[in-house]
């Protein structure tokens, strides 16, 4: 062997023909729309299309709301994940199922459920409005709420998995060294799950950024107030196909960047 670093390629049996054909069809199915989008993109007018006041406003709103939603998912999701991973309590499995619901629920339905809870006549919403004058639907805060609703499961699942996979003896060792529970959490548990926390927050942010159904149902589609990028794409489709495609390319780019930054976790690469 001349090289000690590069492992020789293992000889492997060829994939069965049927598997190979179907796999290629699957890849084309996933890849062609993306290629189509990139080919259809009006690259020449990209700058103009993306710097219109409406587009810039949608971009700004999307970034602000998705970052706030991701932050909300972290602040509320982290303690929830810890509780599910570390404490036995009655109904724990039901709670774990509840957390997953936003993942499988059609986002439009998610929006409807948010209306019934936080709408002006909703379960909680009526008191928010009557007592504090707070009205969440059709507001920017409502967008954050809708995005956090669909994004939180990504954070909870990722962090819960990480909490389960760390060796409990690190935390036990910290306790025998005299660390109070809060210090154990802050100085030992949190640093150990930090990579997963970052990954979970990034996934939640990407999901929030792409959120459409729950947002339009709960918060409406008002430019400058609740019209985020995906909603702008939807609206633009009716007037300017080019603008819709240009905005879509931006969203695709962001999604791709997130996946690349999570490469070690989801694309199998190890650094």
């Amino acid at each position: 062997m001349t090289s000690t670093t590069a492992e020789p390629r293992r000889r492997q049996a060829p994939a069965p023909g049927v598997v190979l054909v179907l796999a290629i069809v699957a890849l084309a199915f996933l890849g062609l729309p993306l290629i189509g989008l990139l080919l259809a993109a009006p690259w020449g007018q990209m700058t103009e299309l993306l710097t219109t006041p409406a587009a810039l406003e949608a971009l700004r709103l999307s970034l602000v709301t998705s970052i706030l939603a991701a932050a909300l998912a972290v602040v509320l999701g982290l303690p929830l994940a810890w509780l599910i991973a570390r404490r036995e309590f009655p109904g724990r499995n039901i709670v774990r199922g509840l957390v997953l619901i936003p993942l499988v629920l059609p986002p439009v339905v998610g929006g409807v459920t948010l209306l019934t809870a936080f709408g002006r006549r909703g379960l909680v919403g009526q008191y928010l409005f009557d007592w504090f004058g707070i009205q969440l639907p059709f507001s920017t805060a409502g967008v954050v709420l809708a995005e956090a609703f669909v994004a939180m499961p990504f954070l909870v699942i990722t962090v819960e998995g990480a909490l389960r996979s760390i060796d409990p003896r690190f935390e036990e060792a910290a306790r025998t060294l005299g660390a109070k529970p809060s210090r154990v959490l802050l100085r030992v548990t949190a640093p150990l799950i930090a990579p997963s926390l970052v990954a979970g927050a990034l996934l939640a942010w990407a999901r929030a950024l792409g959120e459409f159904g729950a947002t339009i149902t709960f918060a409406g589609n008002f430019p400058g107030v609740t019209q985020t990028l995906p909603l702008a794409v939807y609206s633009a489709l009716e007037v300017s196909r080019e603008e819709a495609i240009a905005l879509s390319v931006v969203l695709l780019g962001i999604s791709f960047a997130v996946l690349v930054s999570l490469r070690g976790r989801f694309l199998g690469g190890r650094g």
Binding site: D167, F170, A173, T176, L177, A179, R187, P191, L192
Partner: protein, 347 residues
Amino acid sequence: MSVSARIVTRVGSFTLDASITCAPGETVALLGPNGAGKSTVLRTIAGLQSLSAGCITVGDTVVDDPAAGVFVPAERRRVGVVFQDYALFPHMTVRENVEFGPRSTGLPVTAARHWLEVLGVAHLADRRPPQLSGGQSQRVALARALATEPHLLLMDEPLAALDAATRMEVRGHLRHHLAEYRQGTLLVTHDPLDALVLADRIVVLEDGRVTQEGTTAQVAAQPRTDYLAALLGVTLLRGRATGGVVACEGGGRLVVSDTTVSEEVIALVRPQAISLHRERPEGSARNTWHTTVTGLEVQGDQVRVSLAGPPPLVAAVTPAAVADLGITLGAEVWASLKATDISVHPA
């Protein structure tokens, strides 16, 4: 008393019921097969698991007594633990690991520096745990546990994570370091050699019960259960080694094959390795001596013959041999022992 405990826990059909004490300055080995409940004993004393019944007292404080509704959590027990794979925090340097305890409890971090020095790992202070060898990790884990000035030190299989060569070396150092620490040490092990070399006293735990308890020499010489007899039944002699000869405490010299060890050693002799003869034997055995029989005891299909020495040893022979040689109490016999049959360990 560093710790005095009666530990009762029930998990499914397994019941652990064991009483254990450890005095200040004493090292007690809790020896037993896997699944005997050793780790549970350690976890209950550390406060990582609660008792079903019984009572644990660390120093002068009752830390767990279900009947009285007392349970002091691990972080307030002042019981140091060295975990089996050391559980050093991977995201902290060696110094941060060792200072973690003092910083958590408000003790001065000078204790951390002291133990880093004493255990000879001060020069590794800026490294991270993955950059340490097994022996180094072991010392850092010990320094980390001792830096909190615990009233009791618990060690879970302290040598199990080391390779054979490092193990020998660490075993020797460990006894020395444990002597520096004036509180009690309770170490859990399934390896009789660790127990023999490190401990002053051995408590044998089998299937959730204490089956034997005594000084290391007593337990080594007279194992009372089949489990122990299979592992032990050895005679333990302390002495000083020089150039392949061990001068035993209390008289007698043994020629050993290992010429590398020196100073204070523990020599272990299996009774089966000693041959008895009526006449002075001729042969290759490096140790041959004339002695008197001071005791006879039948154990299973063997007879254990105690020899006056020096050094005092026990030989195991068949009942037929006893008859052939005419061995009786007070009889004079020749004994021989090959140098290669004596294992020598730094003490």
